[in-house]
């Protein structure tokens, strides 16, 4: 696909008018705030917000030395790894079988994609309801099995709760992409392998999985970004970052520090760190996917 059009229109003023609305919106609501975040991350205001002093990279240094920030980093890392691996594995499983099924893949797809429509906040509430220590139906089931379950007190339980909610929501998205990826593998490759004597299990690992690698990589990045950001609502609804701060993922901490604890400088510094991470991930994804796709 051409990166440029050969044929263009000539006008000196029209393109400016066309592009103006978008430029205005992103200037006011994106670049200006982003610049502010950068600025604020190098400042510190006093308790009443009346004076501001330049502190250079001190906010960042503080973050580095702040136990709770590092803990949040660790929490987020664990959370995103769990969400990404579980989410991708389960969706891939479902996609592989949906691809196999000659009739009905459309029906299964319909039933598996609608969780995409569910708001993370709602998902959080649903999971909270099902797993609430005293009234949750699943908690009941767990206790019947003889295990204990209390996400309000047990960090591991709380983490499991938000991981499950997050994965449930992401299954549709991953499933769609995996299914599309599998369906785009030429059937002739599979048939050739079958004629060579490869059984389904082997065919999957030696042909389908490698050919899915661009999709897998892409989804990996997307899922990590999802785990970092879109899950705020799930955390807020299901555990509020608790017990204590054990499920406070980074974005939750930004919110909490900025809006509840009123530490603007620290919150801004955290925002900047997050920005850097996202940009890095996106760049990596673009570079890698662009290269891989051209074989």
């Amino acid at each position: 696909m051409a990166a440029e059009k050969r044929v263009v229109f000539k006008s000196s003023w029209l393109p400016w008018v066309l592009i103006a609305p978008q430029v205005v919106v992103i200037a006011v609501f994106f670049f200006w705030p982003a610049a502010q975040a950068l600025l604020q991350s190098t400042q510190q205001s006093d308790a009443f917000g009346t004076s501001v002093e330049w502190v250079g990279l001190e906010n960042f240094r503080n973050l580095w030395n702040d136990e709770s920030y590092l803990a949040s980093f660790k929490t987020t890392a664990i959370f995103s790894v769990l969400v990404a691996t579980l989410g991708l594995t389960l969706s891939l499983l479902l996609a592989v079988f949906a691809d196999r099924v000659v009739r009905g893949s459309g029906v299964y797809r319909t039933f598996l994609i609608w969780p995409y429509a569910v708001a993370p906040a709602v998902a959080g509430v649903l999971w909270l309801f099902m797993f609430a220590p005293s009234i949750g139906i699943v908690s009941y089931g767990i206790r019947q099995l003889g295990l204990s379950w209390d996400p309000l007190l047990n960090s591991t339980n709380a983490m499991s709760l938000i991981v499950m909610a997050a994965v449930w929501k992401q299954i549709s998205y991953n499933f769609l992409f995996f299914l599309a990826g599998l369906q785009s593998i030429p059937k002739s490759l599979i048939e050739a392998a079958a004629m060579d004597g490869a059984r389904p299990w082997r065919r999957f690992w030696t042909i389908q999985f490698p050919l899915l690698s661009p999709t897998t990589f892409f989804l990996l990045v997307i899922n990590i970004v999802y785990a970092f950001f879109d899950t705020f609502a799930i955390v807020d609804a299901a555990t509020k970052g608790g017990p204590g701060k054990d499920t406070a993922i980074l974005v939750y901490k930004v919110y909490f520090d900025g809006f509840k604890a009123m530490d603007l400088g620290g919150s801004a510094a955290q925002s900047v760190v997050l920005m850097v991470i996202v940009v890095a991930l996106t760049v990596v994804q673009f570079r890698f996917v662009e290269k891989k796709v051209n074989y």
Partner: protein, 283 residues
Amino acid sequence: MVERRPWLDFLSHAILVIGVLVVAFPVYITFVASTHTTQEVVQSPMPLLPGSHFVENYATALSGDRQGSGSHASVGRMMVVSLVTALVISIGKIAISLLSAFAIVYFRFPFRMAFFWAIFITLMLPVEVRIGPTYQVVADLGLLNSYAGLTIPLIASATATFLFRQFFLTVPDELVEAARVDGAGPMRFFKDILVPLSSTSMAALFVIQFIYGWNQYLWPLLVTTEENMYPVVIGIKQMISGGDAQTEWNIVMATAMLAMLPPALVVMLMQKWFVKGLVDTEK
């Protein structure tokens, strides 16, 4: 399939059905809970079959006429807020992106590429990353607790522009030339030819953006403090703030069902375009 392996086919169907059931389970529970009284729901275990209080519960939720703890906003009102927000975001985004993508692809002007990269960068940073200062800007502009404040900052990202740009690049050059020979100027070409051809992309984007707008949580949490401007997803959360014992879970679940309904409908009805749009967006 390549060879006949009936047991594998059976396994496939079995796994898929289990998958569907597991995915549907939470929603089933939600529905069941929304049809019982609070007492029935908070006992452990709660009943697994629907009850008889469907109409009652939903009416209560919609009107906001409740006794329990947490917020008392009428779900009906909140659904309206969510609907308006989602529609403004999706339609607004599509409109300005069509125009920007058109300008970037079909014209040459100074800083064109600079604008393109600037718009591209916005793809990378979701609103969650810049909440503090963006909130500040919105507050300074006096847009708190308004539809404008709820929607405009979320129109700022460029997914739609990117998608349209990719699509426009695949429109054959000859169509533009034929239009020029026919005497069509740029806006005529845009209106009569480019936009009709983009209808599939627009439909796909509409679904994605509508859901995005409807499901927004963090941002509305910050910019709305008045109950009558809460979107429904915030409303749900506020309802459970009284602690397990006092929360009217059955009403909460009814609200959850209502909250899930419009986006689910949009996805189901426009499934074809949605899938196509989602998969094509990233290519």
